[in-house]
């Protein structure tokens, strides 16, 4: 190959690389853009898809009602973060710098959220997070529509202890969220005078849990706090059931929701407990209405869970904040987002201004006969101040 051809070929390839970056066409109208960074692949896509459906429905309803700021429509720009923190950062930067979104919604894992937070701060863009987490975030630019241990473990542990016995075993994934949840469980077990007889963590992707199951069986625990959501959790429950332990030891599966119904047989899921702010089977008018609207928009087979609600709620909060601020200026939206109340699927819920966490209505759910039903309505729960009196600003 001569130098000339070589030069042309390289130039062409380089041009391809650079052209791939070409800026997008300018839109005719000016919608208010909301960025979404959720996992649509890579492991947590179940939650990602739920969030996307919640947000989509909220945007559709708001636009049908005339949009915001004198008729400007909302527009969702959805990016897949592949359940990966690096990609989350890339996508967040893209949404903020190129698409000029007013807010970024997502992601699912705490790791990705922590990675995205500096981006939100650097570019002064609100980050709207809608998944349960371990608590403790205090940041002007981060809003969390999340159940934290104050919401669930503070109620769940005493309830289980009273009903089934005060010996607990904790089995979780080996990362930050399960560890923090273990601390909350330990705190509450101590409070009721019970005992944590064993704590065990597992890496991702383990396929045979027999050593752990054997340990749990021997431990004398009455209640197993299972902090292994997703596919590995299904595998665990399946093997746990096969070893015939479900009758002796009650399982509280953290973050378990309606998705478990499709993955597990009724026999396998029977009797598992969970604590959530919303259940699709909740007998309240707003809950029934919310589920019906989801089914109308996404078909009758759609799974509706608390994650759908939280992302829907976040868009609603954002819309209220935009209207209250009267502008799409991001700092002004942040200033106006506090202490707003929305009703999604389970009564009115409020985003506190002082720490950007939610006052939620909580439920204890139980898997019964292939359904997830309400075992106990815990009512409105006000969590402790996650900023501990520090100033958010």
């Amino acid at each position: 190959m001569g130098s000339k051809q070589r030069w042309i070929a390289v130039a062409a390839l380089l041009a391809c690389v650079l052209l791939a970056f070409a800026p997008p066409a300018v839109a005719g109208k000016k919608p208010v853009k909301i960025g979404v960074v959720l996992p649509l692949s890579g492991g947590f896509e179940i939650y990602g898809n739920l969030g996307v459906r919640g947000a989509k429905m909220a945007v559709a309803e708001i636009n049908a009602a005339g949009g915001v700021l004198d008729g400007r429509p909302l527009e969702l720009i959805i990016e897949d973060n592949k359940t990966d923190p690096k990609t989350s950062v890339e996508k967040a930067k893209k949404l903020i710098l190129r698409d000029k979104v007013v807010a970024v919604m997502g992601p699912v894992s705490s790791a990705a959220r922590d990675a995205m937070t500096p981006v939100a701060v650097k570019y002064k863009t609100p980050l709207l997070y809608g998944i349960d987490y371990e608590g403790g975030v205090c940041n002007r630019y981060v809003f969390l529509y999340s159940a934290i241990p104050d919401h669930d473990m503070d109620k769940m542990v005493p309830y289980m202890g009273q009903k089934y016995g005060k010996t607990f075993y904790v089995f979780g994934y080996d990362y930050v969220w399960p560890h923090k949840m273990t601390e909350a469980i330990q705190r509450n077990v101590d409070k009721i005078g019970g005992k944590v007889v064993g704590v065990e963590y597992t890496p991702f992707g383990v396929k045979d849990f027999t050593p752990t199951i054997q340990k749990i069986a021997k431990s004398g625990a009455k209640v197993l706090m299972l902090i292994v959501p997703g596919a590995d959790g299904f595998t665990f429950i399946k093997q746990f059931t096969e070893f015939g332990l479900k009758d002796k030891i009650k399982i509280v599966a953290l973050a378990s929701d309606e998705n478990y119904l499709t993955a597990l047989t009724p026999q396998q899921s029977e009797g598992i407990f969970t604590a959530l702010p919303f259940l699709a089977s909740l007998d309240k008018p707003e809950a029934k209405d919310f589920v019906a609207r989801q089914k109308k928009m996404f078909g009758n087979d759609v799974v509706v869970t608390w994650a759908t609600c939280s992302h829907y709620g976040l868009v609603m909060l954002l819309k209220k904040a935009i209207e209250k601020a009267g502008t799409d200026d991001r700092e002004k939206i942040i200033d106006n987002m506090g202490d707003l109340t929305v009703t999604v699927g389970n009564g009115p819920e409020t985003m506190r201004a002082k720490d950007h966490h939610m006052i939620l209505n909580m439920l204890i759910g139980k898997f019964t006969g292939g359904k997830l039903v309400v075992e106990k309505d815990l009512g409105r729960i006000v969590p402790s101040d996650q900023c501990k009196g520090k100033d958010l600003q």
């Binding site: 890496p203 045979d208 596919a231």
Partner: protein, 286 residues
């Protein structure tokens, strides 16, 4: 003291599972010197064959029969299309099979979605062993594993095919000169190894949630087993499986699964470094 018995039972279970997965790998590596990085995905294909038959209402058992056939055929096609061009390029065959593994995994995601899928347990009963409720299906797995090991050993130690295969392992050029069709031998071996991986996947599927990432979880321990035991001899995989599987199971029980993985992997690496020929590997030529 029953604890020890129970622990032994659990360890044996995991060891047999590991050996079942590693068997196809060791045949391909021993005979063809090809590291099949797509082995985990062949396992995956086997598992998803069972998922498919279950979804179609055919249930588990037809899937169990179909899986080795289908995956064996896939293996045969891949051998024909890719592997046979790379026999003289060992490192390239690693990379190529690894590219294939990415493609197969993506195909599975495209057809079945990325989420974990579960099938109904085919043998939900359990029996009492050592005062322990033990699932019958686990006994079935152990039975299948023992049968596969016995069959493979029979095939390689007692049949003409096995004699030819061992001749090829010992000296490929000489075997070819003696009229053994090494080309055909490679094809048969790769197909057989793939079929074993498919069978392993199908057998293991009811135990767990099947997701597209499940292959890797078995591939690495299986491979370490082979290298620890010694790739040259079939019996190496038994020893290696016992070391890696037994170690993992025991440390999981005594400490935690996380520790087990780190410790077992590290020990395996050190063992491979000290004895590259494996624990039962023969003398190396000086």
């Amino acid at each position: 003291m029953w604890d020890i018995g129970i622990q032994l039972l659990h360890s044996l279970n995991y060891i047999l599972v590991l050996v079942l997965v590693a068997m196809g790998l060791v045949i391909i590596f021993g005979l063809m010197r090809v590291i099949n990085m797509a082995h985990g995905e062949f396992f995956l294909l086997g598992a998803y064959t069972v998922v498919l038959t279950s979804q179609r209402g055919l249930g588990f058992w037809p899937g169990l029969v179909l899986a080795p056939v289908i995956v064996g055929l896939v293996g045969m096609v891949i051998e024909w299309a890719v592997i046979r061009h790379l026999y003289h390029r060992l490192l390239d065959s690693i990379l190529a099979t690894w590219g294939i593994s990415i493609a197969i995994k993506q195909l599975i995601i495209i057809f079945f979605g990325p989420a974990g899928l579960m099938i109904k347990p085919p043998l939900p009963q359990s029996v009492h062993i050592l005062g322990l409720v033990y699932p019958v299906y686990r006994l079935f797995i152990m039975g299948v594993s023992v049968a596969v090991i016995a069959l493979t050993f029979y095939l390689f130690q007692r049949t003409d095919f096995g004699l030819g295969a061992r001749a090829v392992i010992a000296n490929r050029d000489m075997a070819a000169a003696l009229g053994i069709n090494t080309r055909r031998m490679n094809r048969v071996t790769f197909t057989f190894g793939s079929a074993l991986a498919g069978l392993a996947g199908a057998v293991m599927a009811p135990l767990m949630s099947c997701d597209p990432q499940m292959g890797l979880g078995f591939f690495i321990p299986a491979f370490l087993s082979i290298l620890v035991g010694g790739a040259g001899a079939l019996s190496g995989v038994l020893v290696g499986g016992a070391v890696v599987g037994g170690g993992d199971s025991l440390i999981s029980f005594l400490f935690s699964p996380v520790t087990a993985q780190i410790v077992v992997f590290s020990l395996a690496i050190v063992l491979i470094r000290i004895r590259p020929q494996g624990l039962v590997g023969g003398r190396r030529h000086e």
